[in-house]
Symmetry: C2
Subunit: 409 residues, 2 copies
């Protein structure tokens, strides 16, 4: 008799047949006696179809109207899923973001949820009905339709689970859980039964695309147990919760990596206070996000070398800006490299175990992988290496940390 919130993404509801399959999954939970709230995305392809229509009208769609347009995608899905549930004899009712009062701020295209009115939903659940809610959308104070931006349906699901104090928020997707690393790179990658919010956040920020970082952070903040499962296969998926003393503690949980990195270096900048700000200020002003930052005093003692990474898409723009700044500051040289990748070990076990980083460096050295940059946090060690070493590095580390075996074996 649990209360669960389930979220099905665009691929899971990509056709009438798949919507019917989702209805059967939902109905099975009802039959077991669970109360179910379902959040759905637009059918896959639908959002692009709508964006194409807008693009045929104008290059710069009004943000408010783009939200009016895009929010129809999920509205179609809630109606179809509720019809499919009705056909199975499962009482259900659909709600748009506005109807269930998902109140957001007024930042169109990337609004943030402020509050949710759970009255309608609670009445429906009490009456035994499945509640079907359009993900990704809400309304602002003045009743304008807003959308939450990419991955917004996950956020909707977590927000509803938090508001309703659900026992679990289940995110159905096209993968069957969170893996120790990407199985396409390391076939021995293993599905994790559990992972902590902090680990999941690090993995998401490192490019693991299973869940949107915002929904994980939201779930962590409101302590909503989050489970990632496959829409297409049976299985328990991966549960994302706070650390639990009874959990068998692994040293590290997984290896994340990010192919979309580029590295920029300024050599021989006169080492005066505020140099970091002078270098990075113009980059930030151009809306370029900077990831890793390293500063070292140069051998001459009077200048400094400064390196940072950006998304590969921003590489040439960042290089242009940096060249200009370097000239102004009288730096010796600017170097760039856009064929690098970042590999990261992630695990809350690091907190209580020394030596993780050195095992990592040793493993990579043995394979002849040259490390270009290093950055660490409490539960993460990241290295930047040449792109060509990605697969080799990930596999070697997966092996060295015995990630193919469950912890304790």
């Amino acid at each position: 008799m649990a209360l669960i919130v389930q979220k099905y993404g665009g691929t899971s509801v990509g056709s009438p047949e798949r919507i019917a399959a989702v209805a059967e999954k939902v109905f099975a939970h009802r039959e077991k006696g669970d109360s179910v709230v379902v959040v759905v995305s637009a059918m896959s392809g639908e959002t692009n179809r709508l964006l194409d229509l807008a693009a045929a009208i104008t290059d710069i769609p009004v943000p408010r109207e783009l939200d009016v347009l895009l929010s129809t995608g999920e509205q179609v899905t809630i109606a179809l899923l509720t019809m499919a549930l009705d056909k199975l004899g499962c009482a259900a009712r659909s709600y748009t973001g506005g109807q269930v009062h998902i109140r957001t701020d007024s930042v169109h295209n990337k609004a943030r949820i402020r509050e949710i009115d759970d009255q309608h939903m609670k009445a429906d659940l009490a009456a035994g009905r499945v509640v079907v809610v359009a993900g990704f959308q809400g309304v602002d104070e003045d009743g304008n339709i807003t959308t939450l931006g990419r991955g917004g349906s996950d956020t909707t699901a977590v927000a509803l689970a938090a508001a309703l104090k659900a026992d679990e928020c289940q995110i159905y997707t096209d993968v069957d859980g969170v893996y120790t690393t990407d199985p396409r790179v390391e076939p021995k990658a293993r599905r994790l039964d559990r992972v902590t919010f902090e680990e999941m956040l690090e993995m998401a920020s490192l490019g693991s695309k299973v869940l949107q970082i915002r929904s994980v952070s939201f779930a962590g903040r409101y302590n909503v147990p989050l489970r990632v499962l496959s829409s297409f296969e049976e299985g328990e998926g991966t549960l994302i919760t706070y650390e639990d003393e009874t959990m068998e503690q692994a040293l590290i949980s997984g290896i994340a990596f990010n192919r979309d990195e580029a590295k920029l270096t300024v050599l021989g900048v006169p080492d005066t206070p505020g140099v970091a700000h002078q270098l990075l200020g113009p980059i930030a002003a151009a809306n370029i996000e900077v990831d890793m930052i390293i500063q070292n005093v140069a051998p001459d003692g009077a200048t400094t070398d400064f390196t940072f990474t950006v998304h590969r898409n921003d590489y040439s723009k960042a290089l242009d800006i940096l060249n200009k700044t370097a000239t102004v500051l009288g730096a010796r040289e600017v170097l760039g490299d856009n064929s690098i990748v970042k590999i990261s070990l992630v695990g809350v076990g690091m907190r209580s175990h020394a030596g993780i980083a050195s095992t990592m460096f040793e493993t990579l050295a043995k394979e002849g992988v040259n490390i270009r940059m290093i950055s660490t946090s409490e539960i993460k060690v990241s290295v930047v290496v040449d792109e060509k070493y990605l697969e080799l590095g990930v596999r070697a580390l997966h092996e060295a940390f015995k990630l193919d075996q469950p912890p304790g074996h």
Copy 2:
């Protein structure tokens, strides 16, 4: 400086290019200084696409959810049109039926408008913005999305015009006005500059498909001047208003006809009180609408002959029912004919002119057209004739009443 409500149907907004063309039309009115509220339908084809999706899920879609589904069609159009207006530099804002509080009853799929909250719209108009409203949809008291049924966008436009006390409600369509008769049957048919609500109602009920009967009746009730124009050509269209003494009075305004008629006759029913009810009760119970009804005493004086017409689609069902009833009542014979048509003269001028009907009968007799049934109302004379005489009859009458010339010439 007039306040006008314009309605553009599905064909007029059938593609991004057409939506852009509508935006230019609307903007031209704004440039002239008019305040404009625009009501739009779903892009042509969109409603059918949505119905196909529903049909792929279930044969019997839940009415509430069908409304949630179908209402997305107009929502897409309002967003796109508002973007197109913005691109032209024309300030505009879109509203769904729910956002502009088009409050309806709760009869899903064919709801009726109860009230409209004009606050948002008036504020926008005062700020110089064009208001773009989704036609065909509303919300009931509990916030459930409702739709008004076929032709509902016309009704929305008229209701908004009434609520805002607009100077004119302009219905843009793929014809350039109301004609004296169907130009495909009589190439000499002439566009009417004006026609009265009553005449328009008769024409609509007789199968003239320019406007939905509900919106005409609504406009008449609230005295909203209605104008039918073409989206694709320039022109003044046809204005539908109350009779105006200054109007050059035509004897008749137009010739309407209906191909979808079928005729059923019972001969020799014992002539007892209540026989009409006994015959038509079972027909009505089967949800078959009866149009013309004629009863005559038979030559023997003790029995009666009874004839009525139904929509051709209901013909065989009605014949089955009538055969059973006739047996019970002891009638002599049941006859049926589903290759008949109805031709009607419509005009408020009939009220003050005798002899219209006899001129009609004379004209048809001259052409050798045999009249099977006759029915009259205050502003209409209808005859039922064999299908094959339709074109001949319409053309002869058009000629006899000089409909190809403006009144007074």
